[in-house]
Symmetry: D2
Subunit: 154 residues, 4 copies
């Protein structure tokens, strides 16, 4: 039996509550090359936008993702999910709100919400699951200071 | 409370069983531009590959996705998910196996498995959920002949 | 005999002079997904950045490219060129300076320079040639007010 | 004064003659995600297709580009050019014909022609100029055996 998330069988389209804090926003605008012949942003771009969101999240927490890699740690994506609520059109501005659901030395889960700039209507939401590996792809737990910096203040 | 698939909290890494039949394979090779600075294919490309898989699935069932759009129906993606099991390197060949988990006039769920060419080791797996809309994005149930053609023979 | 630009045979690597004014800058940052396994931004992304540059150029001249398309005119690319001077790395910030070399109702030529934020070192330079067509791809000269708005003040 | 190829000022749209031999074809199909809201393939994708063409060219000459990199040599793109003759639509099949205009230990120039599968109508043509560097980006002339393998038989 498949062990996919249950939504593969019965997608749940209810709206969701607020992200856990802190939630960091970035503002983006849909590029022409990100649209497809339906006239809206193609589904794969959302995962690039999630990445931009978590990059800025890390930077705001005081550690750039580039620095993490330069110290020899890589947060590879082992799972990614997106639920699309309404389309995004060319040249439209929107916000990506990023939050860290949880982090341990071995694993991190980021959660994302895309919202309209005006009114904060939900456009899409999703998550990515990451594990910490070294340059060779072997599991390599993150040092305590990185986990501490990324962890939301309690 | 968030209603994301439970795997956002506890990703399940067990291997999964075979796809429902028929399962259609396509062979792809990792493009240079699809790699990132880790030296492996970037996570967003998998959703483009899923799309290539379901395009060929439709074609094999006797109806090209282009024809579906030309008749005024669009299968927009409302949910997408991928679980990454092992990295893909530049110039590596792999297979995308695509299967249709279920289809009704209003909704279709495609399921995907990426496997190595030799040995059929699982590289990644995922699904996409689609709803049928018209050119303006309004829900528009698929005509019976399209559903019949895409539906796996029972 | 091929009538390609002569640089196909003997690329000229001299530095170039300043752009014709006005030259509009935008600031961008290299996305992780824009890097390739050499660790630098892939060559195809520069053409996406050029597009972002000319989009902002139009907006600053008082007419958004989206508006031009909504009035039924499309500035399709018939030629594009880029000369790469030095690589761009992940998370690096840079400027795209865009200038309009000339515009007539039927044709426009945009010129671009990518520069480092500090020091304004040249990273890359290029151009794109566009012709004005209608929704069906037939040549369709731009109305005077659009040409006037885009044309640099003399 | 700008030293761009003269076509930036007066693009030449005459058709061009046949490629120098050998010219290696690959067949591609336009992916949905490669289209934009005009309904045709976005201009940046042509440079990705050129790359696929020269990758296959090298493979056919007996040396994969991956092998070249594994031996420590990188053929970085220092110039790229494309002239677009007619649009490419979703799901359309086409051929990329790749030829090596010239190669020395320090530099290689590849030339490309995109043609329709039926009738071999010219869709686009272009070139890329490459210089050989080592892993650190320093100029590093290619060893003789690589140049010999890639060089067209005379």
């Amino acid at each position: 039996m498949k062990n996919f998330p249950s939504s593969a069988n019965s997608p749940n389209k209810n709206s969701v509550g607020p992200l856990t804090s802190p939630s960091i926003p970035i503002e983006l605008r849909v590029r022409y090359s990100e649209t497809d012949r339906m006239g809206v942003a193609h589904n794969k771009n959302y995962f690039e936008w999630f990445e931009l969101g978590r990059t800025e999240f890390c930077r705001q927490q005081g550690i750039s993702y580039k620095d993490i890699e330069e110290r020899g740690y890589y947060l590879v994506v082992v799972e990614s999910f997106c639920r699309y609520k309404r389309p995004l059109h060319y040249d439209e501005c929107f916000l990506v709100w990023t939050s860290l659901r949880n982090i341990t030395p071995k694993k991190a889960v980021f959660v994302y919400e895309l919202k309209t700039r005006e009114g904060q209507t939900l456009i899409a939401e999703g998550y990515t699951v990451h594990i910490a590996v070294d340059r060779n792809g072997a599991v390599s737990p993150l040092p305590g200071d990185i986990v501490e910096k990324m962890k939301p203040p309690s």
